[in-house]
């Protein structure tokens, strides 16, 4: 990937992070930690990879994205808003009673959201359904879904994985946001899903392990997934929960807590500095 492209995607990732902080601050609740850890992925998918059109969000050949870890809605909303699906200003209405931006994504309310999610394990099954639909239409579109590492504790994930491999759904790419933290602690402490790559390999996936904050590695992984025939691909992304905000990084308490005013200012200042550095 050339530097111009990388810089552009890095800027979009910072803007997604700004949206995450802005929306959760105004909502006074939400899940910033696991939203911040997928900013690079969403930047790459929505600003580089996916065939989507904000002017025609339901077009039948669009690539599908399912946020199986639905609590990372602030990241998805920020990506969609910045991509032009709805006004960025609306991010401030997140979780408010009169807003269409629900705490977890609703496909019937939000342009660009392909599937309602929030109950862990269910999004990946729907993504598998999309991939099956694509297969039945001569691989009309590609399907991307992102799961949390804690989400791998849900049995439905493995039902879906078994099915996807059995049906040879090679238009499907499953990303795992392996930030190592879930609500009750580290994933090892709670109910270890490790080793993750071996599990997906055993279920019949092509497995690629990358640094989920590195655009070059994201590009290579997604290109390899697109070349893969006969089986789905799992991209295990090693990430940092809370990435980009100094005091949130690797802190489990930022899984489901919103920044207060002073914290909001610090976070926005940090992101502003990151943006300025990139634009310099």
């Amino acid at each position: 990937m050339d530097n111009v492209c990388k810089q552009r995607l890095a800027i979009e990732a910072v803007k997604i992070r700004q949206g995450i902080i802005e929306s959760t601050y105004h909502a006074k609740s939400g899940h910033p930690g696991g939203s911040l850890s997928i900013a690079e992925l969403l930047s790459y998918l929505y600003f580089q990879e996916m065939n989507v059109d904000p002017a025609d969000p339901k077009k039948t050949d669009r690539d599908r994205f399912v946020l199986s870890k639905g609590h990372a809605a602030p990241a998805l909303y920020a990506a969609l808003a910045n991509r032009g699906f709805f006004p960025v200003e609306d991010l401030k209405t997140l979780r408010k009673t009169d807003s269409y931006l629900q705490g977890h994504p609703n496909m019937n309310y939000v342009p660009g959201v392909d599937m309602s999610t929030g109950s862990l394990g269910q999004g990946v099954s729907a993504a598998v359904g999309f991939a099956l639909a694509s297969k039945r239409q001569n691989d009309l579109f590609r399907v991307y879904t992102v799961l949390g590492d804690g989400e791998l504790e849900e049995g439905e994930v493995w039902e879906a994985a078994m099915f996807a491999a059995a049906k040879k759904l090679d238009t499907l790419t499953v990303f795992v946001d392996n930030n190592n933290l879930q609500i009750d602690g580290t994933v090892e402490e709670v109910n270890s899903p490790y080793p993750i790559p071996e599990k997906f390999a055993a279920f019949g996936f092509r497995v690629i392990v990358i640094d989920g904050h590195d655009f070059d590695q994201l590009e290579v992984a997604i290109e390899q997934a697109k070349q893969t025939k006969g089986c789905p691909t799992a991209v295990i992304m090693e990430t940092i929960k809370g990435k980009g905000i100094s005091y949130m990084e690797n802190q489990v308490n930022w899984h489901g807590a919103a920044p207060k005013e002073e914290q909001y200012r610090i976070a926005m200042d940090e992101l502003d500095a990151q943006l300025k550095a990139l634009q310099a």
């Binding site: 039948t60 399912v66 609703n106 496909m107 019937n108 392909d114 599937m115 309602s116 929030g118 109950s119 394990g121 269910q122 999004g123 990946v124 099954s125 729907a126 993504a127 598998v128 359904g129 999309f130 991939a131 099956l132 639909a133 694509s134 039945r136 239409q137 049995g155 439905e156 039902e159 879906a160 078994m162 099915f163 059995a166 049906k167």
Partner: protein, 318 residues
């Protein structure tokens, strides 16, 4: 006298799917390793390329159905009522109900008439579970004629539908002139003393109950309520107004099913006695289906007894 035709509603379901498959090239049928029993196997045989076996993973099957429906396919998916409504409840609630996607759940082997497999497989809670999901339509046909019409209507209906079918062969109640409409109850008999509101397998038994009551000089109206949700409140209130008491009859726990739905409608608008014939908040057991229906009081005589009790209760309240 013409010979009585006996068919399980699940058989009619399988046949109707084959019929639909010829009409709608966008129709896909999913099952969870029970195609032979749910009768989706008939569709599999006719249209193998449009049949998808999801294996023994009902939750995932519902999610896959959601993804297919969101891509424009009409999807029927099947398992036993226990594993569809029960095991996959939350997937149905969140991935089909909340999304209001066009997926039809063909749930077979509902109720105690599953028979020898016993309580683990005899789902008497499914209607209660499905009723609590906003926007869900619930159809519980009484015989093969109505089952076919319910499947065809469900396919045309926008949004999720839960269709409840039985394992046991039941006598045909309706002839080819019968008209089925989602959301409409149908009077099968007019009467003045009491109204019996029945659904599914209990309709045939309610017809027999009407005859038993008639022999005792009691005039019982009978309504077939194939749509449990949305409930036909108009016909329920009409019955309450005309006869002043109601007996419901269903092969389901009396908590949460047709009886509950009717009692709620009546209590809120025109309070009259409502007695509920059904499984009395208990689990089933193994045994031949017909013996179990007797054991749990799902009989014409018990419906008739409850009708007399309802009439007595009505008179005591005047």
């Amino acid at each position: 006298m013409a010979e009585i035709i006996r068919t399980a509603t699940r058989d009619a379901y399988g046949k109707a799917l084959v019929e639909l498959g010829g009409l709608d090239p966008n129709l896909l049928v999913l099952d969870a390793d029970l195609a032979a029993a749910t009768k989706t196997g008939m569709f599999k045989k006719a249209y193998p390329e449009r049949f998808i076996d999801c294996g023994i993973a009902e939750g995932n099957m519902i999610g896959v159905a959601a993804g297919l429906a969101a891509s424009g396919f009409t999807v029927f998916c099947s398992s036993f009522a226990m594993f569809a409504a029960g095991r996959a409840f939350e997937q149905i609630r969140n991935s089909l109900g909340y999304t209001h996607l066009n997926v039809k759940i063909g749930a077979t082997h509902a109720g105690v008439s599953v028979g020898e497999d016993g309580a683990s497989h005899q789902c008497c809670e499914d209607i209660g579970l499905m009723r609590t999901i906003p926007g869900m339509t619930i159809l519980n046909p009484a015989d093969d004629v109505e089952a076919r019409l319910a499947v065809l209507a469900a396919a045309k209906h926008d949004g999720p539908v839960y269709l409840r079918f039985g394992r046991l062969a039941v006598p045909r109640v309706f002839d080819e002139t019968y008209c089925f409409e989602i959301g409409k109850g149908v009077y099968l008999n007019e009467g003045t003393d009491v109204t019996i509101i029945a659904s599914g397998l209990l309709v045939e038994r309610a017809i027999a109950a009407v005859e038993l009551l008639k022999a005792e000089g009691i005039s019982a109206a009978l309504i077939n309520m194939a749509t449990i949700k949305p409930l036909d409140r108009e016909i329920v209130l009409d019955a309450a107004r005309k006869t002043g008491c109601i007996v419901t009859a269903e092969e389901h726990n009396v908590i949460g099913g047709l009886g509950s739905a009717v009692a709620e409608a009546v209590a809120e608008a025109l309070p009259v006695p409502v007695l509920r014939v059904g499984v009395q908040d208990t689990f089933g057991r193994s045994g031949p289906a017909l013996e179990l229906l007797e054991l749990y009081g799902l009989t014409a005589s018990n419906i008739a007894e409850n009708a007399k009790r309802a009439i007595a209760l009505k008179k005591s309240l005047i």
